[in-house]
């Protein structure tokens, strides 16, 4: 941005420290409750997926750029960390950093190309990059990644005391990371930078007419979202101790898009609720359906069918996702209350 424009801050949304603290406490309480109700390792998987969904929400929900290739950066983080652990050393901090570096490096370069396009072209060019990444991991770099067989790796203790193979340690660490990501995005999206990014979503040309080089803002957002996706990928490696090409498969993009749509794009709570809802459907329905089939005399449709139905309902009845729907009802109630 031009130096002459620096003397005045951009408009920022209203957010107070107490509001952020309240949000963080609310999110933490939600995931602790989830860990109590479900198995703890499921809650950890849910939180890692939610970090990934939050990263996608920044790109799609806030900046309005639908991508079919965000898994590339999740995979870059996962494989970056795994390759470091398997081929360099077992230091988990350096491994996570390696994953973040991989995501940052890839997105910095590919973002410059992808962001030259818009709409469907942007979505598809990212998918093409994702396909190339998948091929490299699956075949071309199989000497390092062990291709289809996947790569096993073991991380040492982080800072000498966080053991990723202890569920409680992992839960607390991933929860802290999730809260950090949530806080970061909460602050970013209402900051002057966030206001500009949201304005780009509304109408990029009009932002240009105001004298802004929108490419810079879009690139920073793209790289930030990719680094957060790589963080989720890196944590996946730390917790699982194993990565396979499925962690970079373009098919995984469908999961994150569904999650954002179900919860409500452009809303951090929506991303979390969508992430949890999607994981519940994906993880529990395959278990519940066979049990249900024992009780009824007909075949119950598989979980993918139910996911499709949820998406149809979301698209036709809940255009702004679950959170948008609840918010709309709440505002309507308040307005009715004011009138009466």
């Amino acid at each position: 941005m031009r130096s002459t424009t620096r003397h005045m801050p951009l408009p920022a949304g209203s957010i107070t420290k107490s509001l952020v603290s309240r949000d963080l406490a609310f999110v933490a309480a939600g995931f602790v409750a989830l860990a109590i109700v479900m198995k703890m390792h499921w809650a950890i998987d849910f939180m890692i997926f939610c970090i990934f969904v939050l990263s996608y929400d920044l790109l799609y929900g806030y900046m309005g750029h639908l991508s079919f290739g965000h898994m590339l950066y999740f995979g870059a983080g996962a494989y970056g960390s795994a390759i470091w652990l398997a081929h360099v050393n077992a230091n988990p901090f350096l491994a996570i950093m390696a994953g973040l570096f991989a995501g940052a490096l890839l997105s910095s370069f590919l973002g410059l190309i992808a962001l030259q396009t818009h709409g469907a072209s942007f979505a598809l060019i990212n998918m093409a990059f994702n396909e190339i990444g998948f091929f490299l991991i699956h075949s071309a770099l199989s000497d390092y990644t062990y291709g289809e067989d996947g790569l096993s790796c073991t991380a040492g203790k982080l800072f000498g005391f966080i053991n990723f193979y202890n569920e409680r340690h992992s839960f607390i660490f991933v929860l802290v990371l999730l809260l950090l990501v949530f806080w970061l995005l909460r602050t970013l999206t209402v900051s002057p930078f966030g206001v500009l990014v949201r304005s780009i979503k509304e109408d990029e040309n009009r932002v240009k007419f105001l004298g802004y080089n929108t490419m810079t803002y879009k690139w920073i957002t793209f790289v930030s979202a990719s680094i957060l996706a790589a963080l989720a990928g890196g944590m996946f490696t730390m917790i699982q101790g194993f990565v396979s090409p499925i962690t970079i498969s373009p098919f995984g993009n469908v999961d994150v898009i569904f999650a954002v749509l179900i919860g409500g794009a452009g809303n951090l709570y929506g991303a979390l609720i969508g992430g949890v809802a999607f994981m519940l459907i994906k993880n529990f329905l395959p278990v519940l359906i066979p049990e249900l089939e024992k009780l009824v005399p007909f075949q119950v449709p598989q979980w993918e069918m139910w996911l499709g139905i949820v998406l149809l309902v979301t698209v036709f009845a809940l255009r702004k996702g679950l959170v948008g729907f609840v918010r709309q009802k709440w505002q309507h109630r308040r307005q009715v209350g004011v009138v009466s």
Binding site: M8, L10, R198, S199, E202, N205, V207, K208, G211
Partner: protein, 229 residues
Amino acid sequence: MLEVKGIDVSYGHARVVHDLNLRLDRGEMVFIVGRNGAGKTTLLKTVAGLLRPVKGTITFQDKEIHGLPAEKLARRGFRFVAQEKKVFSSLTVRSNIELAAHGAGEDLDTALKKATSIYPDLSRFMDKKAGGLSGGQREILLIGRALIGEPKILLIDEPTEGLAVIVIEDIFRILREMKEKVSAVIVEQNLSVVSRLADRIYIMKEGKIIKEFANKAEIADITELERYL
């Protein structure tokens, strides 16, 4: 000040503007009039940097500017108010103004004064979401926002389209007060507004300028203008 010389503009293979010439002098208010599909908006978008001419030149203060991106033209003082009356609807009126002020490198107080100077009532809506404004209020906000910084050329596309008569009078008053303070190229269909404000009128048809009116008496004669539409 602004000179468009022999430009052709295409959408793919479809040529929308043919060999078009136009001139805008400092302090002038030039109107472009023509039927739908005549290429008026395409011309304005080309001057604003959204489209690139396939032939011809556009010069501003004797420097070629065709092909420069919109943001660079904005920094040189071009302000484009598009036809759709689109504001940043999720932001408040104040934030819309702040965004423009920051882009133009102007302090907020001055920007707010400029934006509200054309329509003091705008200050009543400062904390309202811009998406909740009426069509007329949006247009006024957009014109007010365009005055922030040091605008040298305003490009305004159909400012009175779809507005109630009473609001059109407000827009007319605002444009009249702006006259001679800024230079403007305005696409407009309302001949009553055009004939009262124009220093020069270009009639466009099928992508070409078919007639230019620079004579005061001719400009004031609406019946004569209508003959070309």
